[in-house]
Symmetry: C2
Subunit: 487 residues, 2 copies
């Protein structure tokens, strides 16, 4: 392999000569020549040759539009993929065919069980002081209202903490309105707690229903759905979200000092047992094939949109990254496993099922990193590895730096579905994505393919390609096992 | 009246001293001292004192937030105002109370007749090749589909011209899909022709329904409604619009070369006779009170939003401008008349009724200018006056120039409802507004108060206040009458 720097100009010449379509000489060599053994030292680092190859891979992947094209296919040919719906299994079948088309070494499904929840109809209006129709959506797992709806005055609270602080009976007969505005993506966890836990808190104060300000950063009449849970022992009341402009309207009415009365109508359907699948593909490593780097996203989406950003993007960023290696025959030392998880949205069911099926192999997971924050670009690399591997992590970041990826700490988290693996001791990586507009579209009808920008998704794909290859090629084990297990 | 320049700094000092709440000395003098007679020459111009007062008025109005507050009231206390609906008359009653609260000299209603059209339900989905729900809305005046819907393949045409060019029978049994994208506001008239006239054109080619790409510049899942008309003699077929992302989706399906089959379901209601009202208020002039400057907007809106930009903004920009004079007791030579028109959206019915009732007084209309392009800011002043008055127009633009208002030609148009007055010979002004985002929200559920920016609406109010005062104070008649009549 030549050590001559493979400059941007030479790369572009190669690309324009059509070489990008077939294996490039220098990279295909990686796949064919015997892999040198990993340096024995615990302080091992990538060789200069390996670093050179990683730089080349970054530049190649950055010019590859496959993730975008794959996402176009998923959002067009499948669309919305609500867990437990007819579209769930249609998506699984599509995903199996899709992974097989990538020519991975192995593609398989693993079953995941969960209940069905579906919306049938939803509407709300202000009855007084001023009649208005509201744009609302039922929260996932909400029960129905009576068919004739619930008519009651609203009681506004600023957030979940304010609701908890109310005296007993303070919401008797009311529809509690949690008015917690999501101002930036970093507040999501805090603000979403009102969505997931508000209904039971409100019910304990005597409320007859919950309606929340959408957990979204936009100002459009498209409400944001999302999952909620009923606490054992608390009365179950219906729960919905209204769009941000509708919440603003209610505030303007409340400022006039008059009671605001709503009519809320939700019809939903639940059923106990549904079987779906995690869809999994593997590209075998050359030297340590039983160790693997785990990447992927979740295949399910909420029903109003087509799950382009949440999480079609994550699935296809990681699929594109792996495809970038497979098409060129590039096999690193360890395997790379791509998982499209079932039902993340309603409780990380696919992630939990994967953990249950694979809990004996935590030490074989070299690194885990799910993509589930939209289309990118990736802005920072954080790891969760044994200290001896931090030199390798620094080399990874060095390769990614030209893409705008900053170095982060060793506090990385692998994403929602893989979180349970980290808790069990799996080395993990956060490829933190820019999320400035992610919560504009999240869980709304607006989560559609037109929001995807090719340049953003190309960068994310390139970052995942470099990450996956370097993690799988690493001369060091990242330390998955009891030592990394969450105490 | 002192000629000392009333500098911005002194003005701000006055405002901070609370003087803005009461009549300012220099402007109230305008209201109280005898108005000097207009110069006799046809080449008359504003005096230096009048120009000074106009500059002062501009600065005062620019700091006045009343238009914004008035619009908050209309959109909160009334909301959607579909012509012919229950909300139409509720809006009229609200508007009468509102105008009376402004303490104008006279407030009255004039009847306007039109049929009722209302949507009951609307839905559509792609049946094949890939099932998807679509976000659609019935076009105003569309008939219903059968209750079980219409199931048919789509025939895509680029625009209305392409539809017209099809051979006879080319759309037999199809749902015609007009895929004409609105890229910028200046194309609105051309693109909207597909909405207003597409159904009859499609029916003549054998189509069973029409569905169009929304006439909007946004990329959200909120379809844009709007009026359509059936030609006499053509078969009547149902007509709807889908959101831009849905139209993009259909295109992606069509690119795969397979037929795309839809299920379209619309239920609408029509009734023959409805009586609503133009709501009119007048502020009497001192010297020529039977001549008047006509300003206003249309009170009706489409039903999905609350008509904040279309055209609550126009109503309240002009109401705020007049209020800026009234609160300070400033009476120009001529009267100023504020009209909130009924039912602009479904065929300029209020404008036509106003013309019918006032066609004998065209020469008494000193100038007409409706605001119906959103919240502004106003970017250009165009007139339609006799040549002798162009010097006055130049003086008006000179006062408005610090607000960013450029000089335009003498080809001005007074807006949709007042267009018929211009055709009949009324001198007219275009206060052309920036419309870069207007067609993002136009005729959608997203036309709500949160989209209104106080600084933009303040500028528009200031421009209308200066325009209305200068036009009413003008030493010259602008020439309304037979000489300006459209031949």
């Amino acid at each position: 392999m030549t050590r001559t720097p493979f400059t941007r100009r030479r790369l572009l010449q190669s690309l324009s000569a059509g070489l990008a379509l077939g294996p490039l000489a220098s990279l295909s060599a990686l796949a064919q020549k015997p892999v040198p053994p990993a340096p024995p030292s615990l302080r091992g680092l990538f060789t200069a040759d390996e670093m050179h190859s990683a730089h080349q891979l970054r530049e190649l992947a950055l010019r590859d539009n496959r993730s975008y094209e794959m996402l176009e296919r998923l959002t067009t040919e499948v669309g919305a993929r609500l867990a437990g719906s007819e579209a769930d299994l249609r998506a699984v079948n599509w995903a199996v065919d899709f992974m097989q088309s990538l020519k991975l070494d192995k593609v398989w499904k693993e079953p995941v069980q969960y209940p069905v929840w579906e919306r049938i109809s939803e509407s709300a209006s202000v009855i007084s002081p001023f009649p208005h129709k509201l744009q609302i959506t039922a929260l996932g797992h909400s029960i129905s209202t009576p068919e004739q709806g619930i008519q009651a005055d609203i009681l506004r609270v600023a957030d979940l903490a304010a609701l908890k602080a109310l005296p007993a009976g303070a919401a008797q007969g009311k529809i509690v309105f949690i008015d917690h505005k999501l101002r930036k993506s970093s507040e999501y966890g805090d603000v979403a707690s009102g969505r997931s836990r508000g209904a039971s808190e409100a019910a304990r104060k005597g409320a007859v229903a919950l309606i929340i300000r959408s957990v979204g950063t936009d100002s459009h009449r498209l409400p944001h759905t999302g999952v909620m849970h009923y606490d054992d022992g608390a009365p179950q009341i219906p729960a919905a979200a209204m769009s941000n402009p509708d919440a603003d309207l209610l505030n303007r009415m409340l400022q006039r000092g008059q009671p605001v009365r709503l009519d809320l109508r939700l019809q939903t359907r639940s059923a106990p047992d549904f079987t779906s699948y995690n869809v999994i593909g593997e590209w075998r490593g050359t030297e340590l094939p039983d160790e693997y780097v785990l990447i992927g996203g979740h295949l399910d989406s909420w029903d109003p949109g087509t799950g382009a950003l949440d999480d079609g993007a994550g699935c296809m960023i990681t699929a594109g990254a792996l495809d970038c290696l497979v098409r060129r025959g590039i096999r690193p030392r360890r395997s790379i496993r791509l998982v499209f998880y079932a039902n993340e949205e309603q409780g990380l069911l696919g992630g939990k099922a994967y953990h249950a099926a694979h809990q004996q192999e935590i030490s074989r997971i070299q690194a885990a990193s799910e993509a589930d924050s939209g289309q990118g670009p990736v802005k920072r690399l954080r790891s969760y590895v044994r200290p001896e591997a931090l030199g390798i992590v620094r080399q990874m970041q060095e390769v990614l730096a030209p893409l705008g990826v900053a170095a982060g700490g060793n506090d990385g988290h692998p994403g929602p579905d893989m979180g349970v693996l980290r808790d069990a001791g799996a080395a993990s990586f956060s490829l933190d994505m820019q999320a400035d507009d992610y919560f504009d579209y999240h869980h709304t009808a607006d989560d559609t393919f037109d929001k995807v920008e090719p340049a953003r998704i190309r960068q994310s794909c390139a970052v995942y390609a470099v990450f996956a290859w370097m993690a799988a090629q690493s001369p060091l084990h990242f330390g998955s096992g009891p030592a990394l297990k969450k105490s």
